[in-house]
Symmetry: C3
Subunit: 263 residues, 3 copies
Amino acid sequence: MKRPVITLLTDFGLADHYVGAMKGTILSICPDAQLVDISHEIAPYAIAEAAYTLSQAWTCFPPGTVHLAVVDPGVGTARRPILVEAAGHHFVAPDNGVLTMVYDAVPDHEALEITASRFFGRPVSRTFHGRDIFAPVAAHLANGLAPDEFGNRVGDPLRPGFSKPTSTGPKTWAATILKVDRFGNLITNLHSESWQRLAAEPFEMRVGTCLVTRMASNYGEMEPGDPFVIMGSGGFLEVSLNQGSAANATGVRSGDRVELRLL
Amino acid sequence: MKRPVITLLTDFGLADHYVGAMKGTILSICPDAQLVDISHEIAPYAIAEAAYTLSQAWTCFPPGTVHLAVVDPGVGTARRPILVEAAGHHFVAPDNGVLTMVYDAVPDHEALEITASRFFGRPVSRTFHGRDIFAPVAAHLANGLAPDEFGNRVGDPLRPGFSKPTSTGPKTWAATILKVDRFGNLITNLHSESWQRLAAEPFEMRVGTCLVTRMASNYGEMEPGDPFVIMGSGGFLEVSLNQGSAANATGVRSGDRVELRLL
Amino acid sequence: MKRPVITLLTDFGLADHYVGAMKGTILSICPDAQLVDISHEIAPYAIAEAAYTLSQAWTCFPPGTVHLAVVDPGVGTARRPILVEAAGHHFVAPDNGVLTMVYDAVPDHEALEITASRFFGRPVSRTFHGRDIFAPVAAHLANGLAPDEFGNRVGDPLRPGFSKPTSTGPKTWAATILKVDRFGNLITNLHSESWQRLAAEPFEMRVGTCLVTRMASNYGEMEPGDPFVIMGSGGFLEVSLNQGSAANATGVRSGDRVELRLL
């Protein structure tokens, strides 16, 4: 008998009791769960960063895994809790776009709104749905309950635009910084496969206080101190600096907009 | 067969080998343990913060869980190691007050002093009882050993005063900041249920450099920049700031004292 | 049936998806693994720090444990991936010295080069061998595959000199700081047992901007503010400060060199 895997992704940090409380709730319902942290250090309320981080990890897990993604600036408002099935995985999250990149990767996903309050903690607090709604639903799913026990299908989960750049003119695009990694690299939403031509065509990318005009194929070929564009390991173009932090050099942060122009 | 759950709460941080060494010790004795971190980011030696953090998490776990709480400024001195049973849970900790809020929540708890050195690592170091005493005792408990194998009952575990405010006059109280959360909210030891009247009665709370005079029912109703009191999700009054850190605004830290006066 | 234990030690940090991706990869191959983090907060590329941290933790785990150590500045270059057996434990790591202190502790260890690419993820990325090579090999080992399935024995794993001081004259030695712990203590590579005489003999240790001339047997006997040498819990001499950070006082960091002279 394989133990069911439940992953956790939040912006709760590790100093407080929140993650422990969610895990205790899960184990009270599904004692056999194999609990795996993706990250709890998502910047507070940074939905795009959470979506990117989840997109880089979930495909490594076995089918049947339940992924909990609780980055939830709208907790206590009318935003829906949702349950999504995609490629044999289950996702439990607030319907705020944190699963956008799952929808991009698996077009034939199915989403339902979680309404079956008989599975929720009692009482449901105003501020901690991670413990009171999302953790118990994930645990019951891991126990083998069918998704349609939790609510009805919905066709319109929220898909904010951050996962793809926006065309703003014949040769210009507005892109978004999905995440700043621990080395200060700026991960954009420009998919590497779609933008390979930047290696050959002249371009300008306005990144905060800097104008970036070169694409590198590896770090070593660039001078320290000059920001450049490189294909990152996550499948997106990254703005990087040899021996330095591109975030510090440009003043740009997670969620910020950068402008790309082909010359 | 359910796997026994052991939770860990320490001030060891995650950069060093300490938590890993404790977990290896546990798994050498109880290979089937389900290990769950509550937090390892308690401020060094901050017993009140550890007590509060534990109090918010342990009740989410299933009965039978063993909770290890190793925040231990007195390691190497004569302070006792203790084992506490409360509401079907077991707690293993130094006898320094870190379990105070468990005693508050479960008046009919039972405590015993851990003396059975046959269960300890050999030799017991002067500085790392987490690995040499507390981890092995927790693991043997999780294996099903009866608590009275570890020592004799004691009636006087240490109960420092931090879990409740002190009356300092007919209309004045001294309260303690149990914890500063990651957003800079100051969690007091003023139980929300006992102090609901602050919503209606005029009061002054001296919090470091600030005088707080308003209670809010939600964040949005207050101006950015003005500290206020609010009922926190943990059951205690918190001093908060809309869009800011109350800790920074007031200069107050975990363990500090604040003064409340009814007008 | 005992669940196989796999420990993880990296410099990936906990904010990004890297550790989660490795764990998902492991569980896809070995669903029953008991995963334990040693640390993911090793300073980027700090091989000596990783070697020290691993040395303090692995001996606490039961025989049969698989230890993954991925601190890998040479990823993408020709450095070999290796598999080491020592004292009934298995170690999977890049061959860059991160296992040096395992070799010191277990002289009759055996090492082999990992070449069996049929176990690797496909395609193997240039930058994330933790996910694509080391995690799958560890998982297959935990499943019970014999080490010689993964490659051929090698007799020359890399052993950088950082684990022992170097004699630089009749009464002088160059030592290395293996790690700065969270309190700012500087852990040297001077083994306590070999250097007990510093308690009795006059000496000078040049540590960054400070000259240290005293050995203490406990913290309390020293004045706040004066750095001193003390036998640390990890078996090595440490440079410490009563109520302060020796790292801040001396300006010394992980990997730096200090000079010892007997007078």
